[in-house]
Symmetry: C2
Subunit: 361 residues, 2 copies
């Protein structure tokens, strides 16, 4: 099987992303990607039984230790992070250690943050095992944990030494989680690449059937698009915010349902449709493009409506506490046209109300 390699260009923090089947058990690749002798694999209870033994085998010859975290966003906090520090210090691992994040976004965010902080920064290799983490957290260097009063409130911008995306992991990924990852893949088409969007429309069946070539292409274009955006704005001062298309609406949905009934990607799918609807009401984006997007999202088995019982007022309240809100003015990611996003606050309150109304039951 062939694989792809692409490079995220961030000066002296540049790194490669390898995409292909069986990368996790590719001993030669792993060994060249890890500079020192000491390796700490950080994973969780769900992933460990699936892949941990294989990966340890591929790392033969290194001094390998593992820490298995509880699974779930609710454990993404300072307390769980401390388990990683405890394990590192118990092993007496020094500044030459490489942390390997084996798991989805939560494992990646926590492992990256642990790597950023351990002895003020050690190497970190990502092995993302969900489509969402492969196309999202592989690029961008956002790491961190949640605080009871807010998501991702404590963290660092910290780049991995390399990312290994083993497409085999997608074969064991539950359909619902795969679809949630597709929401972010579609996002890249919407914000930056109309051709890729059209490609997704043509290839959605192949993707949902986990066709290897289709997967590699979709993941590679997604990572490239994100890398292109991040390279322009590594620390999120400006354009990078377009990556949050649908996220302000989506966060409101996730918060209203207490992060239990909608996966992140599902909430973002609805949120993207809402952002497009608002863009359309403002005279940008055609109705046809809104409908194309809705059909693509439906083809992935993703939701297109906000949760039962959620109303306009609840949306408004929850959106105004979003951390992307500066000095009280609500800024949203909107589309100029399909394939081009921007961040603005020049929408009318009426149009926003109409959009919210259209997506509430």
């Amino acid at each position: 099987m062939t694989s792809k390699t692409l490079h995220v260009d961030l000066g002296d923090r540049s790194y490669p992303i390898h995409i292909g089947p069986d990368l996790m058990t590719d001993s030669e690749l792993l060994q060249t990607r890890i500079r020192g002798q000491q390796v700490m694999i950080v994973t969780n209870e769900t992933i460990a039984p699936l892949y941990l033994a294989k990966m340890e085998q591929a790392l033969v010859g290194k001094t390998v230790a593992t820490v298995v975290l509880p699974d779930g966003e609710k454990f993404k906090n300072l307390e769980t992070l401390n388990l990683v520090f405890d394990a590192l210090l118990q092993q007496r691992f020094n500044r030459t250690v490489t942390l390997v994040a084996l798991g989805g976004g939560v494992v990646g965010d926590m492992t990256g943050f642990a790597a950023a902080c351990y002895q003020r920064g050690v190497d970190f290799v990502q092995v993302p095992t969900t489509l969402l983490s492969q196309v999202d957290s592989s690029v961008g260097g956002k790491t961190g944990v949640n605080h009871p009063q807010g998501k991702n409130m404590i963290g660092a911008f910290y780049q991995p030494r390399s990312v290994l995306i083993d497409t085999n992991t997608l074969r064991s990924l539950p359909d619902r989680e795969f679809a949630a990852g597709m929401a972010e893949v579609i996002k890249y088409g919407l914000i930056a690449d109309a051709d890729f969007f059209a490609w997704l429309e043509a290839n959605v069946s192949a993707l949902m059937a986990r066709d290897e070539d289709a997967l590699q292409h979709a993941i590679a274009v997604s990572c490239e698009t994100k890398a292109w955006v991040v390279a322009q704005d590594e620390r999120e001062g400006g354009i990078r915010a377009i990556l949050n298309l649908g996220h302000t609406f989506g966060h409101a949905i996730e918060t209203a349902t207490q992060y239990t009934s909608y996966l992140h990607g599902e909430a973002v799918a609805v949120g993207m449709l809402m952002a497009m609807d608002l863009s359309h009401r403002m005279g940008a984006v055609t109705l046809d493009d809104c409908q194309r997007t809705q059909r693509l999202i439906e083809a992935c088995g993703l939701p297109t409506k906000s949760p039962e019982g959620m109303n306009i007022d609840q949306f408004m309240t929850l959106m105004s506490v979003d951390k992307k809100v500066l000095d009280g003015s609500l800024r949203l990611v909107l589309l100029e046209k399909l394939g081009k996003a921007y961040v603005g606050n020049e929408f009318s309150a009426d149009a926003l109300q109409d959009t919210l109304g259209a997506f509430c039951h």
Copy 2:
């Protein structure tokens, strides 16, 4: 009264250090040094009664909140750090907040780390109130907290937006703490500047009497020297290690006495003499230079011997777990001559034993 300003040159992370009396109450200076509207002053129970009200007054017009931490190295941990995050989120402070560290090294290290992590990085202004923190943590960007299994094991390299060194704070600083800071001042002479060392010998009485001009000069040269070293090696891969002159011996002393009987600077003072003694045994550094250093250290009222009851074996054990030890080979900061340090492991085990023996009771 005149004041001095020097610049730490680190590319886009460069910042000024202002040194002079009454800077903390200089409303104009403070207001220009803080970019946003939101300010969180982080201080501790000892410092708050002395300076907090004054500083709040100087910040009139800003939205100011404070968090008062318990005082002491034993509170420099993730749990106390979380009090800062709690306070920031309770105030709903956003990415435009500036954290002001008002206190000594512990407050500075924790506040800097909190600023590095809060929403993945916010502004941070240092107002160090001890001589040690003024000449040490003002420059270098080392922030962090301790872990039960090791000092400064969790942290970040993160630069302040500016440092305000108010020399008035030294007038209320206890003599013993002032002397501990002097150990680090002397260190800069030893590692990089023989002329400054000679100036210190000539001006030690003025310094101990807290003469304003002498203080400003000593602080400025110390910060400049540290800045010169750090600029060459921001993330501590090489030459920066010379700043640890005396620290490996010193850490052993601090650990042996469980951080209770020796202040950090006191342990470093003994450690520097030990490093010089070892350098002398290896044929570098003259006996005269060792004696000059001992006299200067004594003139500051600093100790020159290791603690009662501490023996050679204990030193050896404690030094081999030092985090600066890579792959089992003990590397120490040594002097080529007074005013020039290097890091090496080319000393004989016998010479090390002799040095340890000479400093144990």
